[in-house]
């Protein structure tokens, strides 16, 4: 047993959530399952999560990273709110990655908000999984 996320015995805890109102949760479920199969502990919260639900869950579950899936086109509204709440809850050190349908021209805006990575359709599972593992902050 070990505290150190860089050793194989530590199980990274990842929150997977779908903010907003679209009901297309297949992508989120595929990612949740893939990260599970990569040996991580995935906290899956499901559909129609408010920014408050997501950030509160991240706080209580002490996650190492947060993955969000948005296909509604509401990312320009939802993401600023979520990133603001992350700062309010002093969770800015927890990386947030984004999937779903994010138009190319919005990616830089998302990154400017502090989103660590954006994965659109066609991204490979391995790519996402190693990205997540690579971004997990080291715990004291």
């Amino acid at each position: 047993m070990n505290d150190d996320p860089n050793t194989p015995t530590y199980k990274p805890r990842i929150l997977i959530a779908k903010p907003g109102l679209d009901g297309h949760d297949r992508g989120a479920k595929v990612i949740a399952r893939a990260l599970r199969d990569a040996g991580m502990e995935v906290i899956y919260t499901g559909l129609r999560q408010t920014p408050e639900m997501i950030v509160e869950a991240a706080l209580q579950e002490d996650v190492d990273a947060i993955g969000l899936s948005i296909l509604s086109g509401a990312h320009q509204t939802l993401m600023p709110r979520i990133m603001q709440l992350m700062r309010d809850y002093e969770l800015s050190d927890v990386p947030v990655f984004l999937g779903g349908i994010i138009p190319e021209e919005d990616v830089s805006a998302m990154k400017a908000l502090g989103v660590a990575g954006v994965f659109g359709p066609g991204s490979s599972i391995d790519e996402i999984s190693s990205f997540v593992l690579g971004r997990i902050p080291v715990r004291e």
Binding site: M1, N2, D3, T9, Y10, K11, R13, A32, R33, L35, R36, D37, A38, G39, M40, E41, V42, I43, Y44, T45, G46, R48, Q49, T50, E52, M53, E56, A57, L59, Q60, E61, D62, Y89, E90, L91, R139
Partner: protein
């Protein structure tokens, strides 16, 4: 850790839980530092088969308790993969309505334990207790017939059943139903709910308190069961019907949980359960220590060689353990 005693930041609470989950050393330090603040919370276990409605029921129970001014925390355990060690913890899907209430929810993976809880669940409960929650609900992995570890952790155990899960022989089988302080038939609006309630009541009626009835005559109850009934001073296990998603039957169920809490205190059972729990906890920790000592004393090459010998039928398991044990003893002698 000081921050976690009697309140403090939620982040420090969440971080301490992670540390305790992952490191035996952190657990020892945390428990030593907080133990005098524990023992106050009412620990309520929720168990039952997958799909019976445990998470939905936990959600509405938490809301009802919260409405009565009780500070609630929830620990929800889901299974880890035996192959990758990963887990998909999905209990929060049903608990969305608890956001913003101050109810603290923590998901845990079972990490290879088979009793329905993770090895560290009891320590996580201690931390939440020390933080100041009044009532901690522990939701087990979906349980079948033998996952009864929750009864060693909780003061009050709820076993949740749903209609249509088998005939009434199922309810007479030993195991999970025996640990219930309160039986709940959830989805009570479904066909067959009355039947399920009836067969559970029948099972209780045949239990130690009443003696077994056969053709109207009371058949003698085995002494050990009768003693158990006396010890418990006749807590009558109620069968409660609920429809969690419609919030039906929830207030009476919370009343039953409170009544069991009062009963435990009034009869001295609270102390008795705490003592039994402490005994098991010390036994478990000692066993871990012995194993650690053994692993240190006998190099893994030697252990592997003996395992091979047993697998290939060159040595029987009892002789093998005898040999291994002598090695541990030899180690101790040479220390002197």
């Amino acid at each position: 850790m000081q921050q976690v005693r009697d309140g403090g930041s939620l982040r420090s609470l969440a971080r301490l839980i992670t540390a305790v989950e992952n490191s035996e050393t952190s657990a020892a330090t945390a428990v030593a530092g907080l133990y005098d603040c524990t023992g106050r919370a009412h620990v309520v276990g929720i168990t039952g088969p997958p799909g019976a409605g445990k998470s939905s029921l936990v959600t509405v129970l938490a809301q009802e308790l919260h409405g009565r001014g009780v500070r609630v925390a929830i620990v929800a355990v889901d299974p880890s993969s035996p192959f990758t060690g990963g887990a998909l913890l999905g209990d929060r899907v049903r608990m969305r309505d608890l956001t913003g209430t101050g109810i603290f929810i923590r998901s845990m993976a079972s990490r290879g334990r088979v009793g329905g809880l993770a090895k560290t669940t009891a320590n996580v409960v201690k931390i939440l207790d020390a933080y100041g929650f009044d009532l901690i609900m522990v939701e087990t992995v979906g349980a079948g017939q033998a996952e009864i570890e929750i009864a060693n952790t909780a003061h009050t155990t709820l076993v949740i059943e749903a209609p249509g899960m088998g005939d009434d022989v199922q309810s007479s089988k030993a195991g999970i139903l025996e640990i219930a302080d309160i039986l709940v038939v959830n989805k009570a609006d479904r066909p067959g709910a009355r039947q399920t309630v009836k067969s559970l009541e029948m099972m209780l009626h045949m239990g130690p308190a009443g003696g077994t009835r056969h053709h109207g005559r009371v058949v003698e109850t085995p002494a050990i069961m009768a003693q158990k009934a006396v010890d418990e001073r006749a807590w009558q296990v109620p069968v409660k019907e609920t429809v969690a998603i419609e919030n039906k039957g929830i207030a009476p169920l919370v009343d039953a949980i409170r009544a069991h809490y009062d009963h435990l205190h009034a009869t001295g059972q609270w102390q008795a359960r705490e003592r039994a729990r402490s005994r098991r906890e010390l036994d478990g920790l000692l066993r871990d220590r012995f194993m650690a000592q053994f692993e240190q004393a006998v190099p893994s090459v030697e252990r592997e060689a003996i395992i091979t010998a047993v697998a290939e039928r060159q040595m029987d398991p009892y002789t093998a353990v005898g040999q291994l044990w002598r090695k541990v003893q030899g180690e101790k002698l040479s220390e002197k």
